[in-house]
């Protein structure tokens, strides 16, 4: 649809924000945590939570109610302004990613909040804003372990943004545009995962590291650094950090579906259903990897990005650029 008068655009933005926040809070945070526990139980030959609700499906609802009634503790000598604003920045940056993700197509056009013509660049930009929130959370806690965890996590996320950026450039080169809808429409005949398998692997690895998940979760694993940069946050603030993390993981998986797995294309079923099937398949892969591999040390982690992923991604970009130029000549 075209551009409406400014008050209607503002209203659309507010409604869209509420829809995206509720959608991500329910699907990513609550369903994602439940899936995590059930899948980890299945991989470890146990059942997972079954006490609350039919087969344990209401477990996250019970967890949310528990977290809501916890006390709000601010550590002594912590900076209250920075301690409080870090809680806002991390989920905000994660939720802003969803603006350019197409969830399907309808009779009136693609089901996307706003098809920006710099879509993929916008996604990279907003996911780089999370790093600032993490640094503020680590600093504002007035806790050496939180600060170290925050600095390490920030270094890890900044290092793994570069392979993601290079892969995004490669896919935009193939599709000829930065807009996510155009990239999906270019995959009607051949999904990009078939013509760019190396890019797909690099993207999945770098996305796992970008959201601080295993095997790259040194900074927040329970047996390391006491939960890292959010150790001093209680109750609902902790839940908001988890919302930011799981939301970012779902956004990365949705972007991988858009860039590599053909978005919403599929025979028979409606487009939104196909998108969700592919999305949850990738989420299952993420969770499977978490409970299968041991975790990296911080120097192995950073060395892996700078010495392995970036050269491979650069080589892939050069080879792709060569083939794109030669094929068009």
């Amino acid at each position: 649809m075209g551009v409406m008068p400014w008050y209607l655009e503002a209203l659309r933005a507010v409604v869209g924000t509420i829809v995206i926040f509720s959608g991500v809070a329910v699907v990513a945070a609550m369903l994602g945590v439940l899936l995590e526990r059930k899948i980890s139980g299945w991989i470890q030959s146990r059942i997972g939570p079954t006490h609350v609700g039919p087969r344990g499906l209401l477990q996250t609802v019970a967890d949310t109610i528990k977290l809501l009634q916890k006390e709000y503790i601010v550590p002594q000598n912590a900076d209250p302004a920075i301690f409080a604003s870090a809680v806002v920045i991390v989920p905000l940056a994660a939720l802003l990613d969803y603006v350019v993700l197409p969830f399907g197509t309808t009779r009136w056009g693609p089901l996307i909040f706003r098809d920006l013509n710099i879509g993929v660049l916008y996604f990279a930009a907003t996911s780089s804003l999370i790093v600032v929130g993490i640094l503020m959370a680590g600093w504002g806690s007035n806790n050496k372990y939180a600060l170290l965890g925050g600095l390490r996590s920030a270094a890890q996320m900044v290092s793994y943004e570069i392979p993601i950026g290079l892969v995004l450039i490669t896919i935009s080169l193939l599709a000829g545009s930065l807009s996510t809808v155009t990239i999906v429409n270019m995959q009607t005949h051949l999904w990009f995962v078939v013509s760019q398998p190396v890019s797909f692997l690099i993207f999945l690895t770098a996305a796992t590291a970008e959201v601080n998940r295993a095997p790259f979760d040194l900074v927040e694993a329970e047996s390391e650094l006491v939960a890292g940069y959010f150790s001093e946050y209680t109750g609902m603030r902790f839940a908001l950090f988890q919302l930011g993390e799981y939301g970012e993981m779902f956004a990365m998986a949705a972007l991988a579906v858009t860039l590599f797995l053909g978005g919403w294309h599929g025979p028979g079923l409606p487009s939104v259903v196909w998108f969700l099937i592919k999305l949850y398949a990738l989420i299952f892969v993420f969770m499977w990897v978490r409970w299968t591999y041991p975790r990296f040390r911080i120097d192995q982690l950073l060395g892996f990005s700078w010495k392995v992923l970036i050269p491979v991604a650069l080589l892939n970009l050069v080879v792709t650029a060569y083939f794109v130029t030669v094929a068009h000549r």
Binding site: I82, N117, L121, A125, L129, L135
Partner: protein
Amino acid sequence: MTGEAIAFYVLAAITLASGIVVVTSPNLVHSAVALIPALLGVTGVYILLDAEFLAGIQVLIYAGGITVLILFVIMLTEGGTGLRVRQRNEQGPIAAAVSAAVAALFIALAGRTPWAHGAGTLPSYTPGAIGQSFLGPNLLLFEGTSVVLLVTLVGAIMIARKEDGA
């Protein structure tokens, strides 16, 4: 009051208010964190001026990169100890007078000059136009900047390296 005017005034207020916090806050970490809304306000101004590629690059590099770098260095040096040290030196009033005079000079110049209106319109897909320009008329600029980036990368690592025989 069109939407564009409201957007401009809101963005200008955010940018200038955050800028005032950056330059006057006695707490160094507060200054660095206030730099983020200032840079995001400038991003909004770029979008108003039809420069969307530049807006994306501004968030990616400035707000997501340089701010992180500044916060790292603050936390690793003495600005991060939280001690209440005097942050302003002796030339505070003179500095305020000089910067006010410079700003007033620029505003007076901007108001009095009849700026020419060029012909033509901006292309609607700016990344494509910028890319074509970098590989066409501005190729030397592009290659020169990449050499500068390489030199910066090597130089910054050499300067900041620990000198304990590593």
